[in-house]
Symmetry: C2
Subunit: 175 residues, 2 copies
């Protein structure tokens, strides 16, 4: 099974931040039986994000993105993802409850994090606020994660068993 990793964020392209999410995800997928065959890094820009998801869908069976998930206007990954595959974004009850449990008060910014594609599943984020998002489209799996490394690690460590290739043992000694 082929995997594609997408990283979203100007700070990575500008070299302000080293892309440790990429190596964390790459290693986790490799040991879980996937062949990571492509990486795409795009800025916080709707068209670029949508194009990245469409290109990734042409290459991989599993597509994982990190970055651009959160309360502010420049967190536009889900809008770009929805644009790529013509999906509707909608307030998700489960996601809303996950967020409500973390705060006394719900602001529009906080509610925004519960607005995810129809048909997708929110993934619990024990290390932060924005839930991850899991979705299957045309037999391909998508996982959309925030950009904060400890949140990426927490969500993925919780979820990896669900997507691990069964009975796979990594034996490539060149690793």
């Amino acid at each position: 099974m082929k995997a594609v990793i997408i990283t979203i964020g100007n700070e990575i392209l500008k070299g302000r931040t080293v892309n440790t999410n990429f190596s964390f995800i790459g290693k986790l997928l490799t040991f879980s039986g996937y062949n990571v065959s492509l990486g795409i890094i795009v800025p916080d820009n709707l068209d670029a994000i949508a194009a990245a998801f469409r290109n990734a869908a042409a290459y991989g069976d599993l597509i994982i993105s990190s970055g651009g998930l959160g309360p502010t206007y420049d967190d536009m990954t889900l809008t770009g993802f929805a644009r790529a595959f013509n999906l509707n974004l909608k307030l998700n009850e489960t996601a809303f409850n996950m967020i409500k449990n973390k705060f006394d008060k719900i602001t529009p910014e906080r509610e925004k994090m519960a607005i995810i594609p129809e048909g997708s599943i929110p993934l619990k984020n024990d290390a932060g606020t924005a839930p991850g998002v899991y979705m299957e489209i045309d037999n391909k799996k998508y996982i959309i994660l925030p950009g904060v490394p400890r949140e990426v690690e927490s969500i993925m460590n919780n979820f990896i068993e669900k997507i691990r290739i069964k009975n796979y043992v990594y034996l490539d000694e060149s690793f």
Copy 2:
């Protein structure tokens, strides 16, 4: 001017190595006046490398790759680059002399590092053996670098003045 950074190497996709070359190049280009608008990471595979260069050419004015330049059979970046743009690879005298100056004896593996696209210019590598390669095609600039970080830094620090956007001062406080 838009720039695209390509990283070539299985070790990056598998998460064995953190992509510090990307952040070094991204920062250097940002401060030199370029808008780094895309990153592409591909394995040591000819078709993938050729596709990466062709895709990068559609997005950027300056394309910089790191990785896959060197003496061994899995160093195939120049072959992929040549395939992408239908170029001939040929022993380059200047590159050959750069390499000859570093060794008592020339082996086929060492000679391989002097075989670069016709019309390209070798870039001196003070920190290692394989020269970098600079080429202009259809008004776009290509810089092809080895994968070892200190070699990337040495070649780029030597060469950056040649491609810096004139009179550019980086003022974005969000950096």
